[in-house]
Structure formats: structure tokens, C-alpha cells
Amino acid sequence: MRWLKPAAVPLIAVGLALGIGAIVLAVSGANPIEAYGALIDGSLSSQKTIGRTLEKATPLIMGGLAVAFAFRAGLFNIGGQGQLVVGGIFAAAVGFGFEGLPWIIHAPLALLVGAVAGAAWGSIAGLLKATSGAHEVITTIMLNFVALNLTDWLASNSWKDEGILSRTPAVEESAVIPLWGSFPTGFLVAVAASFGCWYLLERTTLGFEIRSVGLNGDAARYAGISVQRIIVATMAISGLLAGAGGAIETQGVIGRYEPGFNAGLGFNGITIALLARNHPLGVIPAALLIGAMEAGGSMMQFNADVAPEITDIIEALMLLFVATPIVVRWFFSHQEIAEVSVTSGWGSS
């Protein structure tokens, strides 16, 4: 049970958050058991609701991976949202721009172009940091604004659909990432991406370089690693993941690019990465959890008459407990917690 120890803090944090959430529910006059029952009902009770959970979890996995991956090189990618919308609109452009392609070519091509567009967007922040030392937190936030306005403009000008709404045309049937029964195929892509990230980080020389730069940049330089190159490469891969998330959302869920789609998705990535403690495989359960809460939230609203904001409160509590492990460690006060601290904090450069 080697995974249990690192997973302990997030698991306890989730437990605590649900517990306090129950108290909040009770205080606000709802029946917590009924409410949580509805939450599960809306997310895990049937093939259809499970499908919705997976569908919600898919972009969350990609956004979480983007943040977690960058963090392994010591980079804090706040630009997931921007990379995601850029990926989404380019996937849409390929999706509606070509006709008559077979699915086996068209769908992967659109996904690939979306991912590469996200990578290009992410690597801008990487280049800025590598060449001038500009902090990625600032540049990625700025690039988010640029990306949102750029995609808005594209969707209301060059790539605008007919009609009054500013959005792109629907993608061709051949570019759709389909449902398989009620199972969203895009979820498989996201899971594969998680394993891919894990393999890249743990088994390849590039991953070793990325982790080395993240843990001790001076020693990495001493070891002959070009820190600049790794910064650019890491931001590109991080952007690639977010961009692919946007593409899957476009091709698999919405069917076109609409401005404002999934606002906040990029930021949820930070939540997921924190819950997953930046482990690429930990991102999957973390995203499933948040995905289930999002999928079940509306059911909770209908069946138990609970304001949907309660899921936000629970998510926020989880974050709080994960980010302040002291509260959780209190539970372990009799146990030996690793006595050497080896990772740097969030946001440290």
C-alpha cells in the first residue's frame, strides 16, 4: 500500500470537507443524508449519470494534469484557461473547416491541432521566463486575457457561424469524439494522458530533467541540464494538455466553440492538482470526485432542495484542508511524518 501514505492527506481532507459540509447542510435546514444521497444519485446511480460524471471529469483531468505537470518543474501554470480556449477554438476550426474526411483522420487531427495550439500558447510563457525571467504566474494570467479576447474575436469574426450568436459553426460529424453508449470516449483520452504523463515523468530522461529542475535548479544546471530548455518544454507540454482538454470539450461535449464555454475550467485544474498532490495518476480520482460533485449538484438541488453552492463550499473546504495539511496532520500526531521536507512550496520559483 505504498500509495496510501501520500494519499492520506487528500483522503482525510475530503472526509473532513464532507463532514463539515454535512454540518453546513444541517444548519441550513436540509437533511444531509438526503442531500448526499441525491448527490450520489445524480452522479453514480445509473449508466447515464456515471457517463455525465465521466464527461465532467474529462476536462478536469486535463486541466489538473496541466497544472500538476508544470509544477513538477517548479512552474505554476495559471494559464490553463487560456491554453484551453485556444485549444478549443483551433480544434473547432479543424472540425468545421474540413469536409469529407474519414473519422479516423478528422477527429484525431482536430484533437492534435487543438493540443498543439495549446502547447504553442503555453510555451509563450515558457519562452518569456527562459529568456527574461518574467514570472510565469504573471505572464500566464496576462495570456489568459489575451487568449479569451482573441478567441472571442475569432468566434465573432473570421470563424463565426451564420446567425446572430458569436460562435463557430458546429464541427463535422467526422470530427466528433463520440459517446459510446453513455460512456464519453474522451475520458479514455484523458486517462491515457495521465498515464502518459506519469511515464514521461518517471521513466524518461526528459522527465528526470524536468523533476531535477523542479527540485534543485542549481544542481540541474551542474548536471548539464539546460534549465531554459526544460522551462520551455514543460510549459509547452502543460499547454498541450490543457489545449487537448479544450479540444475534447469542443469535439466531444459542445460540438463547436462558444465563447465563455467552461469558464473556470482552467482554474479548477489548480484544485485538482492540489488534491492530487501533483501526481499525474492522482489527478484521475481527484477529477472524478469533483466531476461527480458537479454532475450530482443539480440533482441535489432538485431532490433535496439544496442550493448548488453547497458543492462549491465542499470543494473549497477540501482545498483548504489539502493546502493546510497541518489540520490533517493533527490526526497523525502520534505517527512519524516524514521529517525531511523536500518539496518547495507552491508558487516558489
Binding site: 524518461t204 528526470f208 551542474y222 525531511v340 523536500v342
Partner: protein, 524 residues
């Protein structure tokens, strides 16, 4: 012994009792501490007396740092107890230790670089006036303390501008400001120049004379004989002996530590140097603040010889090493390796061309603490065959090499999957040395190669250096230890003010004259 009846007085009050034998300020009884399978301390008993300087000796990994960290509350003992003035103490962290008047100076200083000396000293316990920090008062306090204990310092200076030796003074002042009567120093002299060391030893002596109990860890036996009142020796987690300088000598202590007789003087054969392998011509290099550190240095090292660079720290040694290994840019001049210019090339290119490098600061450059011992053993060759192929790492090959090196260099515990951060200081250094000695190289740049390493292993590393020399490698040895430079080198270059002021055969060299050159840059 009714030591709990003694008053818990101020240092001056206590000093009256100096010599009134046996009133331990602190007593460790039967302490055992495990880290996983490793027994770091086993049934340790240890007494600290007021007004005495107590030296703690032992091999790398013997458990010295663990013991003092338990006393300071950083680690908790599994079993056993620590008594302060007879009362059992249950410390849960350094804060408790300070409340109990116990201070500690770590090897890695815990100062805020952008704050002034005075601010650092009072930080956490600031004098205030009308609710705001009274910086004038802080400066005055620092001045008073520094006068009283002979720790000369400018209270207004920024810590980041100070050399290591002075930063250490700030750490000591921090503790004294909190009126500690037990002061623990973990290898304080490892980073000091000989001059700074003798000054520190005087200060420690003076502190003890005011009644403070001083505990210090060191691997340098000469210091122990010079300043300690009591000596405790540890080996493999246990206390194996207790003595005083009057009853022992350096070679006795060495064998007590290691458990066998140790050659304190290196046996060596004369070198038979070949062609010039490394040539430094008119090299000009800047330091971190962009002021000149090297002002046109000339130096050459031939195959099969050791050239030692002696000098007081801060005269350009670090910049010279970093320029040769590609970690620092070059302003002008050239560095020729086997006929090829390497100035301005990347660290990767230079290392591939055959330059091995034991860096002076192992924590900063030499190791990645959160990587395993195995990964650190191949830190600069992970991308080579057989450690990877086509960009995919091959953990099996890495582990094989690491296991071989751990065995050969006696890294303890011999666990290649352990995080390097969990190793003792000296064992970390062994990992760096093992890795660099295992390259196929033409030049070895060894900066402070034995820093933090125990006597037995110093002997081992020195022998390795000589073996490598005899195998035809060119070795550039930079060390703050004049004994090390004179003992291992075939030629000795003295660096002063960014220039090599003399370079001559080590055979028959006059130690005092070298010392003089180091201090003034000129003869006589």
C-alpha cells in the same frame, strides 16, 4: 546527585559554579532513535556541563547530528529521556528548546539574507518602543553582545553581503541574544577558513568561561585537542568513548572513531607529470555582483599531477572553479582543455569533454536531495548508455552502478533507494565523490572534496585522488585546508585577490611562507 537543586541562574550567576564539578546542564539518558530500519542513536548517554566545551566526534553517519537535533527538539527520541537541570524535558520543536535556553547553530544557516545583522539577531523577539520595532535598540544590543563576546560585526550590514564566517557570527549572536546557556554547533568549522576557525574556537572558549555549556561537532581533531574540555566519541549510533584532551591525542581519537588505526599522513609517491591538459590563460571572470573576481589568472595542470590552489576563501577560488566547469560566464581570456577552448561552453559540453567536478557546495550544486541515492549517482550521466536508451531511462542499469559505488565508497546506510536528503552530511559528500570519481575524465576539479568527511574517509578520498593522478588524470584541488593542499598536491598555487601570486612545487615548500602569501599576496 541533587543537580535539580541548583539555581537556574543567568550565565554570570552560573559561572560562579564553574569548577564545582558535575552539575550537568543537560543529560541525555538511554536515547534511541530509528529512521525506518536505520538506528541513528542507540541507548545514548551524554552529559553536558556548564562552563565546559564538549566536542562530539564520530564517523560519518555515527549519529551526531541526530543526537543534537534531539536535544534541540527537532527530532523526538523513540525511547530514553533528556533531562535539563534534572527535569525531564519534552521538547516538541526548536521553539521549546529556545524557551529552555538551548541554542543551536546549524550548518545551513537560517538567516534572512535581505535583512540586516541586527534585524536577524532580534527576529522573533524584537525590542519594541510604542509598539514598533526599535531598530536602534536592536543595533545597540547587537553591539553590546558583540563586544562582550568578541564577535566583531557591523549591526547595519545586510546579511547577504557578508561572508560565510561572519554570517555564522550572526547565528551565534542570535542564540546569545536569547540568553542561551547551552549552545550547540553542528560542524561550525567545516565552512570556515583557518583564521576564522581559530577565532571561533577562542569565542567558544570565552563563552564557556562565562558559564555557557558549549557542544560542538567536528571532524578536525586538532580543534578538539585545542579547545575541548571533554570529548565524546560515537560510532554506529552508540557512544563508544569519553575522554579529555589531556588523556588522548589525535591518532588515539582517530582510531577510537573509526575502530582501526588511521594514517593521519598520506603516503605518496612523487608524480610523473605528462603533457599540459588544462591551461588557463589571462582569465577574467566576474562574481555574482558583477565585480571582478578573477583579474587575468594564469594556471596550468598537467596529466598525472595534482595542482593545489591555496587561498583565503573569497579570493576567486569559487569563480575559477565555476568558470572552468562552465557554470559561470567568462569575461575574457581562455581555458584550454587538451588543445580545445572550453571557455563559454555549457556545463554539459565541458563535462562530456572530460572534466569531472566535485563542487564546493554539495547541497546547492552537487545533489538533488529529493532524488534517490541511485539517481544522484548518475546525476550527470543519466542520459548516457547504459543508464538510458533512446530517451527512456533504465533503472536497472542505474541501480547496478549505484550499488557498486555505494559499496566502493562505503556510503551508509547502503540503501540506493533512500532519498539523499536523509543521509548524513559526510555520506552525502561520499555520494558526490563517488559519482565524480567514476567518470572517465581527463581533468578532475575537486573543490573542498573532503568537506564534512570523517578522518577515515578523508584518507580514502586522498588516496583516490593520488590513484587518479597516477592513472594520468590532471587534478585541480581547491581547498580551504592548507594541510590538505600541502599534503596532496604536487604543485601549490596561491590565489590572492583574483590572481595566482605564486606557483611552485609542493616538495619542501615553506608552510609559513604560503600562509603569508595567502594573507597578503606577497612575500615577506
Amino acid at each position: 546527585m541533587p543537580d535539580h537543586l541548583l539555581p537556574l541562574g543567568s550565565p554570570t550567576a552560573v559561572s560562579d559554579q564553574v569548577g564545582v564539578a558535575a552539575s550537568p546542564a543537560l543529560e541525555v539518558q538511554g536515547v534511541t532513535k530509528h529512521f525506518g530500519d536505520v538506528v541513528a542513536n542507540e541507548d545514548v548517554n551524554f552529559r553536558i556541563e556548564r562552563g565546559r566545551v564538549h566536542a562530539l566526534l564520530g564517523e560519518n553517519g555515527a549519529g551526531k547530528s541526530t543526537l543534537v537535533n534531539i536535544i534541540f527538539g527537532l527530532y523526538q527520541a523513540d525511547t530514553g529521556e533528556v533531562r535539563r537541570n534534572g527535569e525531564v524535558m519534552n521538547l516538541t520543536g526548536p521553539r521549546d528548546a529556545i524557551a529552555n535556553q538551548i541554542g543551536m547553530v546549524h550548518q545551513h544557516f537560517q538567516l534572512v539574507p535581505v535583512l540586516s545583522v541586527a534585524e536577524n539577531v532580534v527576529l522573533g523577539d524584537e525590542p519594541t518602543r510604542h509598539g514598533v520595532v526599535d531598530l536602534d535598540e536592536a543595533a545597540a544590543v547587537v553591539r553590546r553582545l558583540s563586544e562582550r563576546f568578541g564577535l566583531e560585526i557591523d549591526p547595519q550590514a545586510l546579511v547577504e553581503d557578508l561572508p560565510i564566517g561572519i554570517q555564522q557570527r550572526v547565528e551565534i549572536l542570535r542564540a546569545l541574544y536569547r540568553e542561551v546557556d547551552i549552545l550547540i554547533l553542528d560542524e561550525p568549522t567545516a565552512v570556515l577558513t583557518p583564521q576564522e576557525t581559530s577565532h571561533l574556537l577562542e569565542v567558544l572558549r570565552g563563552l564557556a568561561d562565562t558559564g555557557v555549556a558549549v557542544v560542538f561537532i567536528t571532524h578536525k581533531l586538532r580543534e578538539v585537542i585545542a579547545v575541548a574540555d571533554e570529548i565524546t566519541v560515537m560510532r554506529r549510533g552508540r557512544v563508544v568513548g569519553h575522554t579529555t584532551p589531556a588523556d588522548t591525542d589525535e591518532s588515539d581519537l582517530a582510531s577510537m572513531m573509526v575502530g582501526r588505526a588511521v594514517e593521519l599522513r598520506l603516503k605518496r609517491t612523487p608524480a610523473s607529470p605528462g603533457d599540459q591538459v588544462l591551461t588557463v590563460v589571462d582569465l577574467v571572470v566576474n562574481d555574482d555582483r558583477r565585480t571582478r573576481a578573477l583579474n587575468g589568472i594564469n594556471l596550468d595542470v598537467r596529466a598525472g599531477e595534482v595542482v593545489g590552489v591555496a587561498g583565503v576563501e573569497g579570493n576567486g577560488q569559487r569563480e575559477l572553479v565555476e568558470a572552468i566547469t562552465g557554470l559561470r560566464g567568462v569575461v575574457s581570456g581562455s581555458i584550454i582543455l587538451d588543445g580545445e577552448e572550453i571557455a563559454g561552453r555549457s556545463p554539459r559540453q565541458i563535462s562530456t569533454m572530460g572534466v569531472a567536478h566535485i563542487p564546493e557546495d554539495r547541497e546547492k550544486f552537487g545533489l538533488i536531495g529529493a532524488h534517490t541515492v541511485a539517481d544522484n549517482m548518475v546525476l550527470n550521466r543519466y542520459h548516457h548508455h547504459p543508464y538510458s536508451s533512446h530517451g527512456i531511462r533504465r533503472p536497472g542499469a542505474v541501480d547496478d552502478e549505484a550499488a557498486r559505488l555505494v559499496e566502493e565508497f562505503d556510503v551508509r546506510p547502503p540503501n540506493i533507494a533512500a532519498m539523499v536528503a536523509t543521509l548524513s552530511g559526510g555520506n552525502k559528500q561520499k555520494v558526490v565523490a563517488a559519482r565524480e570519481f567514476s567518470h572517465e575524465s581527463k581533468v578532475m576539479v575537486a573543490a573542498q572534496p573532503t568537506r564534512g568527511i570523517d578522518i577515515g574517509n578523508i584518507e580514502f578520498i586522498h588516496r583516490r585522488l593520488i590513484e587518479y593522478r597516477d592513472a594520468g588524470m590532471a587534478i585541480l584541488l581547491v581547498s580551504a585546508e592548507l594541510d590538505e593542499v600541502l599534503g596532496v598536491s604536487d604543485r601549490v598555487a596561491v590565489i590572492y585577490g583574483g590572481l595566482i601570486v605564486s606557483c611552485e612545487p609542493a616538495e619542501g615548500i615553506d608552510r609559513d611562507r604560503v600562509g603569508h602569501l595567502m594573507l597578503s599576496g606577497a612575500d615577506g
